[in-house]
């Protein structure tokens, strides 16, 4: 690859798109601000945080405290619920207006839906689920590191000729900066005209998960596999999750048995998570499951079979019956 600076120099500054979950700024936003700040400082440019929503103005100050120099905000009833068309169209207009050189988007369900549409509208490059981001100072290219083949291979990807460069980042992968209440920033309220006669109509947003934290943003996940033996024993997992303040994950086998809903499935045909602590209870560790959780910071595995695959990637292993071990763990933790 030639080291030439042959992209469009009109594009300037780093942007992060603010991610909301049920009207609240989700944690991935602060993580994006953390890595965005690093990239902006390295390039010597400003960091912008761009938010679309309704009744969100009072939340903008937080974005500055966590690293943004400029907050672009459009507070309008049309943005109350996430609408792929209206959001993508609006972000597209703002990008055309301000021309940022880098855009970071949270790899949430909404973010993963919107990012490829925006990149396609702009005919520019998009890199999914980056775990590392840096700047090549010579070319000013964004160096994007992402896992492929379920994390067994890492790839470094660049977008040398097109601007903006767009990347999505999964929740919990980057670190938020410490809040700095002395930080000052500017708030801009852009005016754009968009067609609100969308081909999408959001009828309802239904919350079904009872846990306080959702799986993709959870710091701790208690995950359950076949070793639970029967559905009735799930109550143990639920209790452990409750005392630890954890979200509940599951292997495909448990979901396919109908013991727990698909929204809990972690792995290749479920979701990918990277919590600080992952407690695998009675999970054998098929490669399809490992793909979805191997990037967890610390993995504790409990399994009857000392040869279980899960121990290949675990940090701490406990050979034993989860139905005996977990009640002890709950009892001692509570004591």
């Amino acid at each position: 690859m030639k080291k030439e600076n042959n992209h469009d120099d009109k594009y300037y500054h780093v942007w992060i798109l603010v991610d909301y979950n049920l009207g609240v700024i989700s944690s991935v936003t602060y993580e994006l601000l953390g890595v965005g700040r690093y990239l902006a400082d390295k390039l010597g440019v400003k960091l912008g945080a761009v938010g679309l929503g309704f009744n969100i103005e009072n939340k903008t100050i937080d974005l500055i405290k966590y690293g943004a120099d400029i907050v672009y905000i459009i507070d309008d009833k049309n943005y109350e619920k996430f609408n792929d068309e209206i959001y993508s169209e609006s972000y597209f207009r703002l990008i055309e207006m301000y021309k940022p050189e880098i855009i970071l988007i949270g790899a949430t369900i909404y973010g993963r839906s919107m990012a490829p549409k925006i990149a396609s509208m702009l005919n520019t490059g998009l890199t999914a689920d980056c775990t590392g981001l840096d700047i090549d100072l010579e070319t000013k290219n964004l160096i994007q590191i992402r896992p492929a083949f379920g994390g067994n291979l890492m790839a470094t990807i660049i977008c040398p000729y097109k601007r903006p460069q767009i990347a999505t980042v999964r929740p919990k992968v980057m670190k938020a900066k410490k809040v700095d209440t002395s930080r000052k920033g500017k708030v801009i309220k852009p005016k754009i005209n968009i067609n609100i006669n969308s081909k999408l109509v959001i009828i309802d947003c239904v919350k079904t998960l009872s846990e306080v934290v959702n799986l993709s943003e959870a710091e701790v996940i208690v995950s359950v596999g076949r070793g639970i033996e029967k559905k009735e024993n799930l109550i143990l997992i639920e209790e452990l999750a409750k005392v630890l303040g954890a979200a509940i994950g599951a292997s495909r086998a448990v979901v396919d048995s109908g013991w727990i809903g698909y929204e809990h499935q972690i792995g290749q045909t479920g979701i990918t998570v990277s919590p600080k602590l992952y407690i695998a209870c009675g999970i054998s560790g098929a490669v399809q499951h490992l793909i979805g959780m191997s990037s967890a910071n610390k993995i504790v595995a409990i399994n009857k079979d000392p040869e279980a695959e899960i121990f290949q990637i675990a940090d701490i292993g406990i050979v034993g019956d989860i139905n005996e071990f977990i009640p002890e763990l709950i009892r001692i933790y509570k004591a």
């Binding site: 369900i109 998009l126 689920d129 799986l215 001692i332």
Partner: protein
């Protein structure tokens, strides 16, 4: 370009050939997938996309087409969909397509679909298990100038004008009405895929896919393959393996106590 729609319902399902990882093992020395002797298969999420297409067709009639961009051998996966009851299969195959990133792939698929002319609904899997990007569905919808919804777990209603879907979210699901023509990507929860019948397999054996190259679909070569891909893979490497597992021994009670001690220490 206005999308043409006919009286009959037309559904297109996009499928991808991926390495068959269901029997795969990790080489513990190099931490890579052992790929020797690994065959190829339909991307698992696409199987649910095909099934959803078949279900709609069974209810409302019409034509179901599967389309794939890939190497010649991807015709095998297209034939598998014929065995399940798909009417037509199209393979977009050209050396010019090699090395396409997700933007270029979406463009090529859009040109193939434009050549098919009529469609009401396009269904894709949520993502492919090799690249894991989930880009193709939304990017393709944009290239066709139609709306899309990702991670659909249920179609509540489907008629000639619109569909009402449940789309998964982190906390539950959204209920969304979307006007046709449109594109959805589906998750595993949406249905239980069928197996091919003997009759279907016979039909598949005697079937052939329509094969189109860049010229056939009027693709601009500047937008295909490596040239048409804004993202470039600079390097690839194998990530470092984690240190070895540390086992905690003892009675369940002792194990539980030691585990909590360890986790509390490492928290600081």
């Amino acid at each position: 370009m206005e999308t043409l729609r006919s009286d009959e319902l037309n559904i297109i399902v996009c499928i991808k050939q991926v390495p068959d990882t269901s029997n795969v093992d990790i080489n513990k020395e190099t931490n890579t997938l052992i790929r020797n002797g690994i065959g190829s298969t339909i991307n698992p999420f696409d199987v649910y996309a095909v099934e959803e297409g078949l279900k709609i067709k069974e209810k409302l009639g019409g034509n179901l087409t599967t389309i794939s961009m890939g190497i010649k051998s991807a015709e095998k996966q297209l034939k598998e969909t014929t065995a399940l009851g798909v009417d037509n299969t199209v393979l977009l195959n050209d050396k010019l397509f090699a090395g396409s990133d997700t933007l270029a792939t979406a463009y090529i698929l859009s040109m193939g679909i434009k050549k098919l002319k009529t469609y009401d609904l396009i269904i894709c899997g949520k993502q492919a298990i090799d690249g894991d990007t989930g880009h193709i569905g939304p990017s393709l919808a944009e290239k066709l100038n139609i709306p899309h919804l990702t991670c659909v777990k249920k179609i509540e209603e489907f008629n000639e004008k619109f569909l009402i879907c449940q789309r998964m979210t982190e906390n539950g699901y959204d209920v969304v009405k979307m006007y046709l023509p449109a594109l959805i990507t589906v998750v595993k929860d949406i249905n239980k895929p069928r197996f091919p019948t003997l009759k279907g397999k016979m039909k598949a054996r005697n079937s052939a896919s329509t094969i189109w190259d860049a010229y056939d679909i009027l693709a601009n070569r500047e937008k295909c393959g490596l040239i048409g891909s804004p993202t470039k893979v600079l390097t690839t490497y194998i990530p470092k393996r984690k240190s070895k597992v540390e086992f905690i021994n003892g009675t369940p009670k002792e194990q539980a106590q030691k585990l909590l001690d360890k986790l509390r220490i490492s928290k600081k």
